[in-house]
Amino acid sequence: MRIAGPGRISELFILASVCSDVRRVSPFPVTLWGQLRRQSPRYTLGVGLLGLYQYSQYWFDTRLQIAVDAATKGNRELALTLGVSLTLVALGAFFVRVWSRVAMFNGGRIAEYELRQTLLERLHALGPSFYRRMSTGQIMTRVTNDLVQVRMLLGFAILNLVNTVFGFISTFSVMLGISWKLTLASLATLPLLTLVTMRFSRQMFGKMRSNQEAIGKLSERVQSSIAGVRVVRAFGLEGREQSEFQKNNLDYLEKNLSLAKLRGAMGPVMQGITSVGILIVFWFGGYLMLKGEISSGGFLAFYRALARLSWPLMALGFLVGLVQRGRASYARLTDIYSAVPDVVDGGKTLPGKLRGQLEVRDLSFKYGEAEILRHVCFELQEGASLAIVGRTGSGKSTLAILLARLEDTPRASVFLDGVDICDLPLATVRGAVGYAEQTAFLFSTTAGRNIGYVLPDPDTELALQTIREAAKEARILDEVLGLPDGFDTVVGERGVQLSGGQKQRIALARAFVADAKILVLDDPLSAVDARTETAILEAIDRQRARRGLILITHRVAAAERCDQILVMDQGRFVERGTHAELVKASGLYSIFAEEQRIERELEILSQEGSNAVAVGT
C-alpha cells in the first residue's frame, strides 16, 4: 500500500497531461490519459470483476473456516451445505477471474494496437526532414521495445495495481478476523517480498538490456565478417576474425550467465521468503491453536489467505519499475507522435481536369547551409518531354524530388496547371507527378504486387493484365517470367536477389502502372545497358500522348530524344536547347556528348568479337 500509494497513481495522470498538445490525425488517442479514458469501459468492468473476485476469495476463506470447524465438531450437515456452496463459489470465481483478466489485459492490448497503428500513420505523414533526424533503428526500437513497455503499463500494471489493493483488503480481512497476533507475525517477513521484487526487477531490466546490446554487437561482428569475407580471405584474417568473434561471443556468454544467475536467484529468494513467512505462521499458528486461541478452521483459512497474499506483494515490487519504464518509453514515443510534418496538404483544388502542365519559377533550395538549387526556371507543356542533364552533385535529383513535393518545396516555385503545388492536396500532386528514383526500393512481396503497387486489388484479371503490360514496356517481362515463380516470386530486401538493373526496371514498371500525367524519372536506368534503355525510352515515347516526361539523366543518348534539354551545373541551368543546338554550342553538353561518344566506342570495342555476357565480380 505504501509503495503503490496515490503518488504513483497521480504519476500516470501527469504523463498524460504532458502530451495533450499532440496533434491528431487518426481517430485513436495517443496520450496515456486519452487511452485510459478510451479503454475505461473495460477498465471499469475489470475493476468491478476484480473486486467481486477478491470478495469471493474472502467469502471462501471465511466459510471454509466455519465449515472445517463444523466438521471437526461433528456438525456434518453444516459442513456438507457449506462444502457445496464453497464448490459453487469456486466455480463462479473461475469465470469472474477469467473475465477480469480478459477485460483489463485486453484494454492494454487494444491500446497497444491503436498506439502502434497511429504510430505508423504518423510515420507516413512525416517528411524527409524527420527521417534525417531519426534512423530506422531508432524508430524500430520505439515500435518494438517502447511500445511493449507502454502496453505493460496500460494492461499488466493497472490490473495488478487494482488487484493488489483489493487483494490486501480481502486477505487482511480474513487474517485479522482470525487473529491479529498471527497477522502481525506474518508481517515479519512478507513485506520483504515487495522490496526484493523491486530490486530484482530493476536489476533484471538492466541485465536484459545489456544482454540485448551484447547480442547486437555479436551480430554486427558476424555481419561485418561475412560482408568482408573477401578481405578476410585475401589477408588470411580467419584467425583474427575467429578471435574477435570469440571476444564478442564470450562477452555475450558472460551477460547471459549473469542474467541467468539473477533469474535463477530470483525464484528461490522470493519463494524462500514466502515459505519462511508461511512457516512462521504455521509454527506460531500451531502454537496458538495448541493454546486454543484459534480453531483448526481458522488455521486452515489463515494459511490459504496467506498463500494468496504473496503474489500481490510481489506484483507491488514489479509495479514500481513498470511505471518508471512505461513513462520513459512513452516519452520516447512522443518523439514520433509530436513530430510536426513539414510537408502537408494544401487547401485548393485544380481548376478543371488535370492537364499536366508544369512550371518551375525561380526555384532555389538549400539543405542546411548548402545551396543545392539556384533560381531554376523551366516549363513543361502537356505531353512534352524534357531532359535535365548534369554531373553527379549538380542538383538534378533534388529538383526531381521537389517536383513531386517529396521534400518541402518552397512556396510559389512549382506550379501544376498554374496552381502552386503547395496549395494542392499531396495526393493530387503526387498522383499527377509520378516519380521513379534511381535507387529502386522494392518491397518484400511478389514481383507482380511490386509492379501493381498502386492498384487497389492487384489480383484481378484486369490488374494482372496491366501489370504484365507495364512489365513489357519496362523490358522486364521476360526476366520476371524467368524467376522461380514468375510474377509470384517474392523479391525485395528479404526475397530473391535481383540485379540493380532489374530492380530499376521493376520500379519503372511500377511508375508506369501509376499512370501519372507527368512522369519524372531520376536516372532510372543507370544500371541498365544502353540497348535496353533505348527500347524503354521508345516505349515511353509511344505513351507520350498520355503523359509528359521529365527525364533526369547523365546519358546524352537518352537526353537526345527529348524535345528540350536543360544542362545543370552547380544548382543552376547553364544551357538549354535541343540536342542539335547544344552540340553545336560547344558548352558543357558538347563535352558530355564527346565523352560519352568515346565511352560508347569503348563499350563497342569490348563487345566486339564475342557476345559473351560479362559477369562482374
Partner: protein, 614 residues
C-alpha cells in the same frame, strides 16, 4: 471463368507470400535426429546436467516430504498438545524449505551454464564453419540470413535450457509422488481429488492446444509485423511518392489486428488455464470438507491434502509455454544444422596439382578457363605470367574479367580448365593459408571491420610501432593520426566516420603491414578525388617497391608504374608488352589510350568537382 482464374492467381500469390513469411514457422517439438546432432555440443557440459537432474530429484522428494511433516506437526504436536513436536517439525520444515530453494538455484543455474556455454560453442562452430566455406556460397546467400543462423537461431535452441525443460523430470516425479502419498494418507479422500483429474485433463487438453496455437501465431506475427514496419520506414519515399499511405496502413493493420487478436485469444486461454488450476484446487478442498462429516479424518491430513493439491495442478500451467519454446528451438536447430551440412570447403588441398612451365615466375596462368557458372565462361583460355619483382598491369574494358583474375590467384574460386601457379607451385597444392600469405590485396571498395584504425591495419594483435611505421612510410600518418584517439580511433558502423580517401589509405596500410611478396591493386584508386589520388600515388609507389605487383586499372594514368601491360578483352588476352610497344602495335591498347587521352583532353575547364553532393 474470370472469377475462377482470379481466385486462383490470388491464391497463388498469397500462397507464395505465406510460404515466404513462414520462414518463422514451426517444426516438430521433438526431433531425435536433431537432438543427436546437438549432443556433441552439450556433452562437454553434461556433468552440469547430471548434477541438475540429481538436484531436481532431491528437491522433488523434499517438496513431497513437506506436507507430511506438517501433518505430523498438527496431529502429533498441536492436537496432542505436544509443543516439542511442533517445535521440531518447525525446524525440519524450515530446513527443507531453505534447502529446496538453494537446490532450485543450483539446478537452474547449472542448466543455464551448460546451455549458455554449449550454445556459445555452437555459435563459434557455425562462425568457423562459415569462414571455411568457398566464396561461391556467399555469392548466393543474403548476409542477413547467415547472421541469423549464428545469432537468433542458436538463441532459440538455448531456450530449451532457459525454459527449464529439464524441470519436466521433477514435475513428473512430483506428480507420481503426490498420487502415491495421497492414496497412502487416505485412499477415500484422494479419490475425491482424483475424480477431478479427468475434468482437469479435459480442460488442459482444450486450453493447451488453443494456447499453443495462439503463442505460435503471436511469434510469427511479431516477426512479420516488425519486418513490415521496418520495410515501410525504409521505403517511406516510395509509399509517399505513390500516395499509398492508406493502402500501406491497411496492410499493416491486417497484421496488427491479427497480432492483437492472437494476443487477446492467448489472454483468454492463459487466464482460463490459471483460473482453472486454482478452481480445481478449491473445488477439491471444498469437496473434501463436504465429505468430512461422513468420513472422519485428522486435521493434519486435511492440511497435508490442501498442500498437495496446491502442488498437483501447478506444473500443468508451464507446459503450453514450454512446448512452444521447444518447437521454436527445434526449428532453430533444423536451420543451424542444415547450414552445417553444406559441403563446399574453401580451397582444399588437392592431389591433382601440375608443374609450371616456368618455375621462376612469381605467378603464372596457363590456359585458364573459368566461369562463375561453368556453362557461362568469363575467361577463355587465359595465359600470362609475371616474373619476380615485375609490375604487371591488367587493362581492359569493364567486364572483361580483370577482377576475376585476382580472385583466381587467391583461389577464391576453382578454375574449370588449365592451371594457375604461384611461386612455381600449383595453387591447388597449397593449403589456403600458405597460398594467400603470398598476397596483399587493395580492393576498390574497402571493407573496414569494427574496431580501431590500428586493428584494421594489423592482422591479429596490432603492433602499434609497426602500424605507425607503415603509415609514415605511406605518408598517411598526419592524415589518419590526427583524430583525438590517433590510430586507436574507433571505426563506426559502416565506417561512416571515414572518407573514401582515408579508407583507401587504410587499405594500403593494411597491405604494406602484411608485407607479402605479391601485391594486387584492384582499381584501387578509382573512387577517390584527384587530390587524394595524388596522395595515394605516393602510397602506391611505396607499396610496390621491391615487390611483384598486379595492377588492375581502369584509368590508364595509374599504370605508368607498370613494366608490362596485359590487355584484356571479353575474357581473353589480346595484347601484351610495354606501353611503348603496345602504342606502336596500334591495337586495342592504342585505341583505349587515344580515347582516354581524348577524354582527358575535353575537360579543359576541370568542370565541376563533386563537392556539392545531393
Amino acid at each position: 471463368m474470370t472469377e475462377v482464374a482470379t481466385a486462383q492467381s490470388k491464391g497463388r500469390a498469397e500462397e507464395k507470400l505465406k510460404a515466404f513469411h513462414e520462414e518463422a514457422s514451426f517444426g516438430k517439438a521433438y526431433d531425435g535426429r536433431l537432438l543427436a546432432k546437438l549432443w556433441p555440443f552439450v556433452r562437454p557440459y553434461q556433468r552440469l546436467l547430471w548434477v541438475a537432474v540429481i538436484v531436481i530429484l532431491v528437491s522433488a522428494f523434499g517438496s513431497l516430504a513437506r506436507p507430511l511433516v506438517m501433518k505430523h506437526a498438527i496431529d502429533e504436536g498441536v492436537l496432542s498438545g505436544n509443543e516439542q513436536v511442533l517445535m521440531n517439525a518447525g525446524f525440519t520444515l524450515a530446513f527443507i524449505a531453505v534447502m529446496e530453494q538453494i537446490l532450485l538455484f543450483v539446478q537452474t543455474y547449472a542448466v543455464q551454464i551448460a546451455g549458455a556455454k554449449s550454445m556459445a560453442d555452437l555459435r563459434g562452430a557455425v562462425f568457423r564453419f562459415l569462414h571455411g566455406l568457398r566464396q561461391g556460397f556467399f555469392d548466393t546467400q543474403p548476409v542477413g540470413r547467415l547472421v541469423t543462423r549464428v545469432t537468433n537461431d542458436v538463441d532459440a535452441i538455448q531456450e530449451i535450457f532457459a525454459s527449464g525443460a529439464l524441470n519436466a523430470v521433477g514435475d513428473l516425479v512430483r506428480l507420481i509422488g503426490i498420487v502415491i502419498l495421497m492414496v497412502m494418507l487416505d485412499p477415500k479422500l484422494s479419490m475425491i481429488a482424483f475424480a477431478a483429474t479427468p475434468l482437469v485433463g479435459a480442460m488442459v487438453v482444450f486450453v493447451r492446444r488453443r494456447l499453443r496455437e495462439s503463442f505460435r501465431e503471436i511469434r510469427a506475427k511479431t516477426a512479420q509485423m516488425n519486418a513490415t514496419m521496418s520495410e515501410q520506414v525504409n521505403g517511406m519515399a516510395v509509399v509517399q511518392a505513390f500516395t499509398q499511405k492508406e493502402a500501406a496502413a491497411r496492410e499493416f493493420d491486417r497484421i496488427n489486428v491479427s497480432y492483437r487478436d492472437a494476443n487477446v485469444r492467448a489472454i483468454k486461454y492463459e487466464s482460463m488455464q490459471d483460473a482453472a488450476i486454482e478452481m480445481v484446487g478449491a473445488v477439491c478442498l471444498a469437496s473434501i470438507i463436504a465429505a468430512l462429516g461422513y468420513h472422519s479424518v485428522s486435521f493434519g491430513t486435511i492440511v497435508a491434502f490442501n498442500a498437495y493439491l496446491l502442488m498437483f495442478f501447478e506444473p500443468i500451467s508451464a507446459l503450453a509455454q514450454r512446448y512452444v519454446l521447444l518447437q521454436s528451438a527445434m526449428t532453430g536447430a533444423e536451420r543451424v544444422f542444415s547450414l552445417l551440412e553444406v559441403e563446399a570447403a574453401d580451397a582444399p588441398k588437392l592431389p591433382n596439382s601440375t608443374e609450371p612451365s616456368d618455375k621462376s615466375a612469381a605467378f603464372s596462368l596457363e590456359n585458364v578457363v573459368f566461369g562463375y557458372k561453368p556453362e557461362r565462361p568469363v575467361l577463355h583460355g587465359v595465359s600470362f605470367s609475371a616474373k619476380r619483382g615485375e609490375k604487371l598491369a591488367l587493362v581492359g574494358p569493364t567486364g572483361s574479367g580483370k577482377t576475376t583474375i585476382a580472385s583466381l590467384l587467391l583461389r577464391l574460386y576453382d578454375i574449370q580448365q588449365g592451371s594457375i601457379f604461384v611461386q612455381g607451385r600449383d595453387v591447388r597444392g597449397f593449403s589456403r593459408e600458405e597460398l594467400r600469405a603470398n598476397f596483399s590485396v587493395v580492393p576498390q571498395d574497402v571493407h573496414l571491420f569494427p574496431g580501431t584504425i590500428a586493428s584494421n591495419i594489423a592482422s591479429g594483435e596490432p603492433d602499434l610501432a609497426r602500424v605507425e611505421k607503415v603509415l609514415r612510410q605511406l605518408q598517411a600518418w598526419d592524415m589518419l593520426a590526427s583524430r583525438p584517439l590517433g590510430i586507436q580511433a574507433r571505426i563506426e558502423e559502416r565506417a561512416t566516420n571515414f572518407s573514401a580517401g582515408e579508407r583507401q589509405l587504410i587499405a594500403f596500410a593494411r597491405a604494406l603491414y602484411r608485407d607479402a611478396p605479391i601485391v594486387i591493386l584492384d582499381e584501387a584508386t578509382a573512387s577517390v578525388d584527384s587530390d587524394t589520388e595524388s596522395r595515394l600515388q605516393k602510397a602506391v609507389e611505396e607499396l610496390l617497391k621491391d615487390r611483384t605487383a598486379l595492377i588492375i586499372a581502369h584509368r590508364l594514368s595509374t599504370i605508368r608504374a607498370a613494366d608490362r601491360i596485359v590487355v584484356f578483352q571479353t575474357g581473353r588476352v589480346v595484347e601484351s608488352g610495354s606501353h611503348e610497344e603496345l602504342l606502336r602495335h596500334g591495337g586495342l591498347y592504342a585505341k583505349l589510350h587515344s580515347l582516354q587521352f581524348a577524354k582527358d583532353h575535353i575537360e579543359p575547364r576541370g568542370a565541376t568537382p563533386a563537392s556539392t553532393r545531393t
